[in-house]
Symmetry: C2
Subunit: 899 residues, 2 copies
């Protein structure tokens, strides 16, 4: 909206660090948010628009950096600039800072590029001291208000700037009230507050060994410094981590002349949205209070009143709306709101104060909104010709769409939250607690809903995860097996909840004071990570017409194709409905875990001769063939990338003693022998083990069976004149030219065989995953034999960093806290990994101009990574079915940002 | 010696594929071995030198490739060339191929670039059939010889070309002899052989459904094709794999007119070396037989006689030496030998035949020799001014020096070999079989020698491996833990012997039919992989004056510095004696395993608070300090690279129940708690887990302790005026700029602290391992904070390929058999890994011109990798102490090849 500016490219000595909201000098220049912060930029904008903004200035975000570099102190140059700008406020307001007759009071507010809870927000009434408080009392003819303001200021300042914990002050107030025999603060009068102010000052003296600062300049510098310090507070860091906000952005500070909404009944204060932030409807939406200060609106001590009559009537309130109580000022406000929305071309969240009938605009910013509202507002604004389709697309946060695609909890109900974990896969689900996949399946077959609760999940749990309505684990991060698979399936999942302790033996789990047994009903909210006792009603997703409009506009703009990762008919159907343009990753091993097949799989693994292995594979062939026929039918006309068997064979073997016994009986081999074979197949580092194409180098029969299944499925479709697909056969874990060559020869040989047997021509591509650094480095050689590359960014990230996703939980937090990773590299493609992708892209295309390039893996659904893919010039991304709409939007945004 | 030639860069149509030994046309051109093969090149050389070589020609190695590309057939062009060259032989010899009066007989021999057992070697007397055999009988006046030659030819041809197994023919001969009542072949006369020839031909008819080829041209084409086919025989492939010979070299074929050493007593045949191949002394050394064919010399049916009188006298033989029996021919031979050695400037291995007093030279090649002999010959030849010092250095295979540095088995003794494994660490050792490190230590303290026998070893076994004289494992490859550590320690090791089955419970191991119990004495030969019952005498290494001369010449030429990987005083001393110029890798974790420390290490790991951890670390500090003081003293004046703690903490925790109980008691914590903590620390992929600098990001106290130990050790030395070292502190497993920055700050902070406390200036460098692909890719950023890079090629290879060394045993063989890896990438630096090293070198130097670059890890002792490092411009390589002389030589060779 506001473009970045060359202004700040001046020499440091010429550089300005502080900007008056209405400074004539910069009137023609829009300063960007990254300099002024969101709040500062908007105040400055409002100033330039001629709106009634109390005089003030912004200390730029760059000062935050300088502050930290200068041992957490403001340097002289900046102190001088602050003094200069303070004079401007004094001139504008006709008041003087620290004056005992007409004192200037100011607010000091933080303002980062994006609104950021966790940082110091606001100190009001700064400039009050033992002298100026009297002046304020005189001016407002309200000693109680003046004393109350002063004590609030001392309280807030002491807490935020001097670091004295708030309860000290609260305790004094409580004791005072007890002594006086009253219950509410409002029952305290001016004298009470005066007495309390003394007590407060004593506390400050006791805790800091200094008097509460009476010097207003000292107050100001203290408050400004506190804002900068709050940028690195624990809460702020946590928020940044959760919201992927770089720590080098820094915050700006806004210093502004106070206006008072509490100087009588011709005063008021309020917050208002230009449209409804919840559903997006085009109604002014907000609250105000007569004779109040801003914090009263949010504090809940008085019930705020509606802004519009319509809203008051609808909610059956009796207290007058602003429209009714202050019609003239309301009209002025309404006009300003229209002006603001037209100017910013976006829904605004505005704070205002009426001081003796005069309307003051304190803040405007783009209003936070639900995804639903975001979509509606964007589409409406296009209709209103306020913004273009491009703007509409760029306006919506792609990942927010997630919430539109999954059922959500009905927040109106009272929730008994017993713990939280990571919001690993969005959506809500309720069901009986089960601790094994078998139990989940058993109950599922009886039409009962379950939540599968496991310490962590493994590929063996896939069927249980499918059977359950939701998954809860006590270990593993956002990219643990449970999380990844659940997202892929669209199952809600709460992962890594360290608050719960699972006791498999006694079939229960414990939280702080609660014990939940198998069979009890819980609800998990994968969008927030909450674990709730009992069944909670959910609200079904409404994919409105606006949503599909945004999607179709996105499709018009984007160049990147969006495919899906899917290996089941259900997922494939879902993905097609969500607009997937093919399957980018069909993991054939998931097909191996189904009950009727796993025994043959195990037989194959445990076979001692090629004959035995081939026999076991023969039993699997018809199953795989059937799978492919189903998926090919669903994806008709669209490409399907089938990845041949990837995981190490030991993943398919039984783990518990019971299972081992069962399998030994089924396969008619001694338990001892089975145990020996399992221990032989054990690997120190399975991630780097005998898997991917390495399996097929050792046992070509496996891939031969899989290719036969694929090609016979195609033939079957052709024979029955069913439109199917052109499969892209993908070889996993290639690191050398020889591997892909040998594998390609194998695929072609089998294709020829099936073709000759059936006299039906088969079309297909052969390509490879690029998921090892060596494959990226040697992409030119590999491209000689590959018709496509699919970047397996999960494994590529693991090997490039030498970090196992499964084990990273132990130190990833330390890494983010130490700012080593700005962003989890398993969520967004890392720069180093990106370099390897670029190298492989360049080398691959140099060797083979026509080579198809895409990514599969978790990053395929991450908007930042999608932007990277678009920039790098890949042909497609592939993501889980439920991320397809997100990816469509993100791809359009990427294209628009690229142009 | 023979430079490669532009000759073969002609257009294909102009290209010659067949070369006559004496062809006038190419007289001026030296054809290289890669075209003619070793044998062919030498025959052609001898032809050009005017030596008496039977007429013949070489089919070039390029035809081998064409043969395979042409469906294993010779194409027409080549067949025509063969015919043309055959005519030349006919003209030279005055004989005609297939002629019934004066038939030309030829030998057909394979000849690759290097001598290669496992391939078809020689077919003699080709051209014999039912008719020509009569002519041969007439010409030699020896029907028995002619028939015997024919039957041998049929036997050999049938076996090698027609694929009929040899025992069929042997059986017939045996039965025939039984019937006739004789024991020896020599008791059969011409008629017996004639009868047997009939039987042989029947066998051929029965097995191939065809008559034995009477057409001599068919015989010739068959034999030539068989040579090419033998290039891909199983045995040849195995040999290439073991000797790292690329399979695309192919073999040449030599066709040569036969000469006969068995046409009477003025005939003879023999093999001779120009110097003694065993000890290098300057004496003609060889054997001959009068009236015999070449194969009689090697077959052992007759005892060969000495060539020189001196040798005969020394060995107290009575049969006349050639010098005595054929003085004139001997003199002629001797002159030729001198001429050959002068020409080739190397010791020659020569085959000759005397046919009716005429000396024919059949072959000359560089003679194989022991390392000892190689060193002596090279030094002698420099003295003789035959070769330069450079030649001498280039002449010695660096890895062969290994055999000079370890005790070897006395091969004169009869060995009871009960199995074999991989020759993982050279040298021989005998001792009592023990199955635990504890037992090895116990017996060691009683001055008893042991061989530690384990399925595989772990870092916990380090003390046991130190205590044992040798290590034998049933699992793991050449780069398994056991192999790597044993090589580092200089302990003989046989690893991955799948022939032995270890039963820890019953304290025994089984081989095919033998059971070896704990306490029985075995001998292992780490140079050959043999496992032998009982104690075998060993021969101690003799590092002669010649050896040190070669070393000092090498030092004059090489630019690459050679450091060692060492963390014990013993190893450091050994390495210095072997010429190490510093320590390139001092692994501090090995210091943690010693008995008196491991408890504190475990206490540290299991501590719940920073205080507890710091307390445990305080106990370790004096130990580490002492270690460093010792090593710094030994390495005085030389750099020491200390790597801070690298392995994941769980490696230090106890594994067996007994150990867990012991540790729980020692640390006074419940067993249950210890078990929980161990399971918490368990990792799926420890290789990619919480290790390296990741540990120090989580627990900075650990590195702080280690740095304190290093710096206090330095201070201690300075205080006592002991010359020590400038340590290079190395941070492991860095992948991002932030990690190295944080770690460098930590090191500097500790250095400042120790410096301030002691008022003594401390000098040191801080650098990092480059062992992750991301570190290589982002080397420019990392070099901002690193004063040196040490390429950790072991881990870099693992992550670049995504292959765990520990698990690669399961498929590495399949990979080598499928020609996917020409060479094990854990032995020699792979091309892709090399690309990453080059990228990091370029980027690192671009950022920081002065950055020191080296490699540590197994590749540092591998000559091929050393050549790569020299080419890439690294500053040093670091290898295990016992590889230092190998590396010095290899580095000199690399430099000479580079110039």
């Amino acid at each position: 909206m506001i473009t970045t500016l060359t202004f700040q490219k001046l020499k440091p000595s010429m550089k300005k660090f502080i900007f008056n909201f209405k400074s004539n000098k910069i009137k023609k220049i829009k300063l960007p948010k990254n300099i002024l912060g969101g709040k500062g930029a908007n105040l400055s904008e409002m100033g330039r628009m001629g709106l009634p903004v109390p005089s003030g200035f912004t200390i730029s975000t760059e000062v935050c950096d300088l502050f930290y570099k200068n041992k957490k102190k403001l340097n002289k140059k900046i102190l001088n600039e602050i003094n200069k700008e303070l004079k401007v406020i004094e001139k504008d307001s006709g008041k003087k800072f620290g004056d005992i007759k007409n004192p200037l009071l100011v607010s000091v507010r933080s303002g980062a590029r994006v609104s950021m809870p966790g940082m110091m927000d606001t100190i009001l009434n700064l400039g009050l001291n033992d002298n100026t408080v009297i002046a304020l009392a005189k001016k407002t003819s309200n000693l109680r208000f003046a004393n109350d303001s002063y004590r609030r200021f001392i309280q807030m300042y002491s807490n935020v700037v001097l670091g004295i914990e708030g309860y000290h002050f609260e305790d004094i107030i409580e004791n005072y009230k007890l002594t006086k025999g009253v219950l509410l603060d409002t029952e305290l009068d001016e004298n009470d507050w005066e007495a309390l102010i003394k007590d407060f000052k004593n506390i400050v003296k006791e805790k800091t060994k200094k008097n509460f600062p009476q010097n207003v300049n000292e107050q100001l510098i203290g408050a400004i410094s506190a804002v900068f310090l709050s940028w690195e507070s624990h809460r702020a860091k946590v928020y940044r981590k959760l919201n992927q906000i770089p720590s080098n952005w820094g915050t700006a500070v806004n210093v502004q002349s106070m206006v008072f909404g509490n100087m009588g009944n011709d005063c008021a204060t309020g917050v208002v949205f230009t449209r409804n932030p919840s559903d997006g409807s085009k109604d002014i939406y907000g609250e105000y209070l007569i004779n109040a200060q801003g914090e009263d609106v949010v504090a809940g001590t008085r019930t705020p009143q509606h802004i519009t009559k319509k809203a008051r009537v609808e909610s059956k309130e009796t207290l007058k709306s602003m429209e009714e109580a202050m019609p003239k000022t309301y009209k002025q406000l309404k006009n300003i709101l229209i002006k603001l929305e037209k100017y910013y071309k976006d829904m605004q969240d505005v704070e205002f104060t009426v001081e003796n009938k005069k309307l003051w605009m304190l803040q405007t910013r783009s209003g936070k909104r639900t995804a639903k509202s975001a979509v509606k507002i964007a589409v409406d604004m296009v209709k209103e010709k306020l913004i273009t389709k491009k703007d509409a697309i760029l306006r919506i946060e792609p990942s927010s769409l997630d919430t539109l695609l999954h059922p959500t909890l009905d927040e109106k109900v009272n929730l008994d939250v017993i713990g939280t974990g990571l919001p690993a896969s969005p959506g809500a689900a309720s069901g009986k607690v089960v601790f094994t996949s078998e139990e989940a399946e058993r109950l599922n077959s009886m039409m009962q809903s379950t939540i599968l609760v496991r310490i962590e999940t493994s590929p063996e749990d896939i069927h249980g995860m499918h059977a359950a309505k939701g998954i809860l684990t006590s270990r593993g991060g956002m990219t643990s097996h449970a999380a990844v698979v659940a997202r892929g399936m669209g199952r809600p999942c709460v992962s890594g909840s360290s608050e719960i302790e699972i006791d498999y033996k006694n079939k229960l789990f414990k939280t702080n004071n609660r014990v939940i047994k198998e069979g009890e009903i819980i609800t998990i909210d994968g969008s927030t990570g909450r674990i709730i006792i009992g069944e909670v009603k959910t609200v079904k997703p409404e994919i409105s017409g606006d949503f599909s409009k945004i999607m179709s506009w996105s499709d018009d703009f984007r160049k990147l194709k969006i495919r899906t990762n899917s290996e089941t008919p259900l997922d494939s159907k879902t993905a097609r409905e969500f607009g997937a343009e093919g399957i980018g990753l069909c993991r054939t091993e998931h097909m191996f875990f189904e009950e009727e097949r796993i025994l043959s799989v195990r037989e194959m693994i445990l076979s001692k001769t090629i004959e035995d292995r081939s026999n076991a594979l023969k039993k699997l062939l018809p199953h795989q063939k059937k799978d492919f026929i189903e998926i090919f039918k669903i994806m008709k006309g669209l490409p399907v990338t089938v990845r041949l068997l990837d995981p190490p064979l030991h993943e398919f073997l039984p783990k518990s003693n019971n299972e081992i016994n069962d399998v030994a009986v089924s396969l008619n081999i001694p338990v001892k022998e089975l145990e020996v074979r399992i221990s032989e197949l054990h690997e120190q580092n399975p991630m780097l083990g005998h898997r991917g194409c390495r399996l097929a180098i050792s046992f070509p029969e496996i891939y031969e069976m899989q290719c036969t299944a694929i090609f016979e499925a195609l033939v079957e479709c052709k024979k029955h004149k069913i439109q199917s697909t052109m499969p892209e056969i993908m070889i996993p874990l290639v690191s050398t030219e020889a591997e892909i060559k040998i594998m390609k020869d194998l695929v072609i040989r089998i294709a020829k065989k099936v073709q000759d047997e059936n006299k039906i021509k088969i079309d297909f591509l052969v390509g490879t995953m690029i998921e090892l650094p060596r494959a990226a480095i040697k992409a030119k050689d590999i491209a000689k034999h590959a018709e496509f590359f699919s970047f397996g960014t999960n494994d590529l990230t693991q090997t490039t960093f030498g970090i196992s996703r499964d084990d990273s939980g132990k130190f990833l937090n330390d890494y983010i806290e130490n700012k080593i990773f700005d962003i989890d590299p398993f969520v967004s493609i890392d720069e180093g990994v990106g370099d390897l992708i670029k190298i492989a892209t360049d080398k691959g295309r140099k060797q083979n101009k026509k080579i198809k390039l895409g990514i599969c893996g978790e990053h395929g659904g991450d908007p930042k990574s999608i932007e990277f893919c678009a920039k790098t010039g890949l042909d497609y991304v592939s993501c889980s079915p439920y991320r397809v709409p997100v990816a469509r939007l993100a791809a359009a945004q990427a294209q628009l940002k690229k142009n």
